[in-house]
Each structure stands twice: as structure tokens, then as C-alpha cells.
Symmetry: C2
Subunit: 331 residues, 2 copies
């Protein structure tokens, strides 16, 4: 920085002012400084800046260590939005989402000196754990569950998604809808279940038993096999696309026709769902907006705003598995 100052014939402080876009620098001076910076290939030292400003410009994201579609899409969207807003993004992935692992990740970020932490908290326990640590920087939850904590929260409205899927099946002529639920320690799974129940109740339809399990196609296959044995319902809302895929596999194998014998709707709109056999009706979540909102929440919190809760509306994608469209599949 001193070299730049010397070359431009100003003091180091003027260089600093140019760097920080301070208003009272003469255009001619600024020009000279910028030129010197370019000539010398000077790059400000962030550590030194952080030392005095007590800001690192870095946000930490805690996210599940999986290639699951939802969390990864969220991560990517968040990183893009954060970089646009001028932040660096540091990541910590968690295999198990247990309390102490979450705490360790938070500590990891605090040691690094992040300006804020975003927790993609899909499972209960995570949120409690976050609430239990004292974190001296803003924390934003990307999660459907907030468990009474007074933290800003951003999420896709899973209840609305569940309702959307269920209503679609009801309005397309099915008298009832069975739900193949995801693991109930996941907020999303609970909320999709709730949306399904609400839609049934609103329609005055008795609520059948639901089946809970994991998120994987293997789980869906198992439930599907069981349904084939015990009786296939008119319609099924699966808590995600993988479960739906497993159901389709079981039905296909047993000669149960979709959508004629049973309509199926999934959740996520993963890549490829348009080419399942048959193409899968599903619910798409707006991850880009989720990412932008999360960044916005951190910025707001940094500015001292009150914690707000944002829910993003999901969108139904209708394909053949629910008996609506016909003809060749389209992406």
C-alpha cells in the first residue's frame, strides 16, 4: 500500500480512501491512485482490514454433507446471492446433524471470524443446538422449523407444497390420497405431511393412515411393494421424488398402472423426473429465491433489523403420473 501511495504521490491514507470509495477524494487523485494500483498489481490485504474493521466479509453456511437435491440447490443459490452482495462464503458440511456437531461447526466459523452464519437446518435437533450456543454474530435459519427461536428464518412453504399436491390429486378426480411421508425428524417431511392432511380435511375427506420412512427410492419401493400386497389406493402423494421413484418401480413390476390404477405425485422436481415411467407430477421449490432471501436476512440482521420469517411459495409441475397430461414427455 505504501508503494502505491509513493507511486501515486499521495499518502497511504488517500489510497485507503480510494479503496473504500470515500467521497472526498479528488477525481484526478483517485485516477492516479487507481493507475498506481493497476501498475503495481496491488491487492489489499484482507486480514489487515479485518483486524481493524472487525469484519471479514465472510458468511458461514452449515449444510448437510449430502448430494441431496434440496440442500445442494440451496447452497449454490446462496453462494451466488452472497457473492453478488459482496460476501465470501465459507462452508461446513455435516454428516450427522447432531447437536454437538452443529455446535462444533458454529465454533469453527466463529474461530474463522465470519460476519454471519446461515444454518440449513433440515432436521429437528439442529435448530435446538443452534439456540443453545451463544453466537455473537447474526444467525439465519434456512429451515421450515424454528421451534420458538427468535431467529430470522427463510424457507420454502412446505405446507403449501403438500396442500398443492394433494389438492391437485383431489381435483383430478381421486377420492382420497395416501401420503408416503419422509422421516419425521425432518421439518420438511413434517410440513409436507401437514399440508397433505390440511388439504384432505379442507375437502372433507377422511384422512387415511400415512406411511413414514426415509427419503430414498428404496424406502419408496418397500412401501410400494407393501401397497401392492395390501391394496393400492387411488392416489399417492410421496414426500419426495426419490420415494415416488421407488413407488413407480414397485408398481411397474407388479403391473399396477400409473396413473390409471393409481396417481402419483412427488416433491422436488429433481432432474430426470420428467422421464420417469411415467413422467412424474411434482412440486418445484424456488431455490434461487431462497438463496437471495437468506442473504437478505443476514444483511438485515447485520443492520440490526428485527428477525423476520420468509416463506416462499412452491409450484406444482403437472406431468403424466397424476393422469393429466398425455403424449411424449417434455422436460
Amino acid at each position: 500500500m505504501n508503494d502505491v501511495a509513493a507511486l501515486a504521490g499521495v499518502s497511504h491514507q488517500t489510497v485507503s480512501r480510494v479503496l473504500n470509495e470515500h467521497p472526498s477524494v479528488r477525481p484526478a487523485t483517485r485516477e492516479r491512485v487507481l493507475e498506481a494500483i493497476a501498475t503495481l498489481g496491488y491487492r489489499p490485504n484482507l486480514a489487515a482490514r479485518a483486524l481493524v474493521t472487525r469484519r471479514t466479509g465472510t458468511l458461514g453456511v452449515i449444510t448437510p454433507a449430502s448430494a441431496l437435491f434440496g440442500p445442494t440447490s440451496t447452497l449454490v443459490a446462496f453462494e451466488q446471492a452472497a457473492r453478488d452482495a459482496g460476501f465470501y462464503v465459507s462452508v461446513a458440511t455435516l454428516r450427522a446433524f447432531q447437536g454437538d456437531e452443529v455446535v462444533a461447526a458454529v465454533e469453527h466459523f466463529l474461530a474463522q471470524g465470519v460476519d454471519g452464519v446461515v444454518v440449513v437446518a433440515p432436521r429437528s435437533g439442529t435448530v435446538d443446538a443452534v439456540g443453545g450456543v451463544h453466537v455473537p454474530v447474526p444467525v439465519v435459519l434456512v429451515s421450515s422449523g424454528r421451534e420458538g427461536l427468535d431467529l430470522p428464518t427463510v424457507s420454502v412453504d412446505q405446507v403449501a407444497g403438500g396442500r398443492l399436491a394433494t389438492e391437485h390429486l383431489l381435483t383430478s378426480g381421486r377420492r382420497t390420497v395416501v401420503h408416503v411421508a419422509g422421516p419425521q425428524e425432518w421439518y420438511d417431511a413434517r410440513d409436507r405431511l401437514r399440508g397433505w392432511r390440511e388439504a384432505l380435511e379442507a375437502a372433507g375427506v377422511p384422512v387415511p393412515e400415512h406411511r413414514a420412512g426415509g427419503w430414498s427410492a428404496a424406502d419408496g419401493y418397500q412401501v410400494g411393494t407393501e401397497l401392492v400386497r395390501t391394496g393400492v389406493p387411488e392416489a399417492i402423494f410421496a414426500a419426495n421424488d426419490q420415494l415416488a421413484l421407488g413407488l413407480l418401480a414397485a408398481f411397474g413390476q407388479a403391473g399396477v398402472r400409473v396413473p390409471q390404477d393409481v396417481a402419483v405425485v412427488g416433491f422436488d422436481d429433481e432432474p430426470g423426473t420428467a422421464f420417469y415411467a411415467p413422467p412424474l407430477t411434482t412440486v418445484r421449490q424456488g431455490f434461487d429465491e431462497l438463496g437471495r432471501r437468506a442473504v437478505q436476512s443476514v444483511v438485515d440482521a447485520l443492520a440490526g433489523g428485527a428477525p423476520a420469517h420468509h416463506a416462499i411459495a412452491p409450484e406444482l409441475v403437472v406431468r403424466r403420473s397424476s393422469g393429466a397430461a398425455q403424449g411424449p414427455p417434455t422436460g
Copy 2:
């Protein structure tokens, strides 16, 4: 730090020594310092340390901004390995993988002061771009293409994977194998193609025309439809699972039986492939090892080691689509 020193009755330097595990500190003293640290909830300031050591302990990863299975799995594996090795991981995702965007991401990391950069470089152009910038810190490529650059490289051996898939189809009785290739500006796509060709040539089988396109199920579907019209080959090796999914959709719709009429093999072993119709034979890549190796390469480069190139062997996962297994699908 001064508070800690005062409380422990030592100098700030001794505290620093304890923090850095310097050998010559008496156990009793160390104990007292650690206690003071715990009492005061003291956390060292990384910026101050970075300012003097010129190390931030942060690694930057440049990776595609997509939820594609390969890149995300790599990212997660890398982050885990890096954190185990004591590094923070900063991420930059790229929508397009064009030269200037890559350069911008590298600059972003340099401004942040990372100790090393890992570039997940799936497409040509990326690597050239990296080669074009002067980067004052180690750069490691996670990529099948290195284009003559003298950078350490880590990758899953895509050629071997292509060979594996093709040989499997040949040994299971098919006389030839058609390849549905991925976009040829992706190294992985080129190498899988090469592996396929090598296997055919090694077996003394004439090499049929291959079909190149995108990575998506829609692309696979299109090729499949075309094949149905022009004649379905005995076996197909698709460059990834999504392409294979599209093929299966096209064949299923046209009444072409898999594997009886045509055997199909994919690549990636994405979640759910075991439940495609029929379950898909595919090639699994060892992402965990990839991540560990990448971290190791950075560490080696930081220690001044010569650039090495590591290739990880992929693994064939045999399922029904290639006509081997029968019975209900398994995970």
C-alpha cells in the same frame, strides 16, 4: 489475549506459545493458560494471526453452480477432508464456465487471501483460463483434463470407467456397443468416449458412430427416440445416468425391452438408479477419495512438492439393465 495472559500470570507470548503448541512450555504453565482461556471464553483472532503469518488457513474451491451429482459430491467430500486437515473452505460457484468468470473467481479468492485454490474444472476452457492467470498460491485441478499444464491434478479415471462399462457389455454377450456421449467440451465426456472406443478396439470390434449431446435426460430421450426409428443396437453405453434415464423412457414408450432387446449402462450411480425401469447398471466414482486426494495435493503443493497426478479407479455396479441380474431391485 492480554487478559488471558494476565489471568494466567504469564506474558502474552506464552499464551501464543500455548495456542501454537510450542514445545517449550511447562505443562503446569500450559494448564494455567488453558484454564484462563476457558474461563474468559477467549477466541484467538484469526485476522491478526493471518496478518503476521501470511496464512489464512482457507482453501478456495471453484465449482460449477449446479446440483449435478458429480460436482456436488466432490465439493462435499473435499470440504470434509479439508476440515479434517484443519482448513476452512471457501466456495465460489460458476454458472457458465467461461474464461473470464473463472479468472474472476480466482481473483475473488486471492483477494480473500486463500492459501490454495482447488478448481473443479469439468470443461475445457476452464483449465486454460486457470493457466492464464498468475496465481501466487498452489492451484490443484480436480479434472480429467490438464491440457499440458504443470498443475497437480486429481481425478476419477474416466477412461477406465468407459472401458469398464463397455467391456462389461461385450463380455455379457453383446457384439457391439453404441455410445451416447456427453457434451464434448467436458473432459469427462471425452474420456468416457475414449474408454469406450479403446475397449471396442481392444476387443477387435468395429467402432460404431457415437452420438454426442448434452448431459440431460431430455437429450437421452431424444437419442432414444431416434434409435427406435433407425434401429436399436444390441447395447448402449450412456455417458451418464440421466442420459440413460432418457433412453429408458424412450425405449419403454416404444415397447423396446431392456435388457432383452437392448442393454443399457449409465455412469455416476446417482441415487435412484437402482429403481429405474429397469434398474440401471452404471459406474460408480469414489468421490470421498477424490476429496481426500485433492486436499492432500494442496498440502503437498504448500510443502513445495512437485505436481503429481492422481487417478482414482471407478467401479462397475451391475444391475438389470445390462441383462445380468434378475429379481427385485436392490439399493
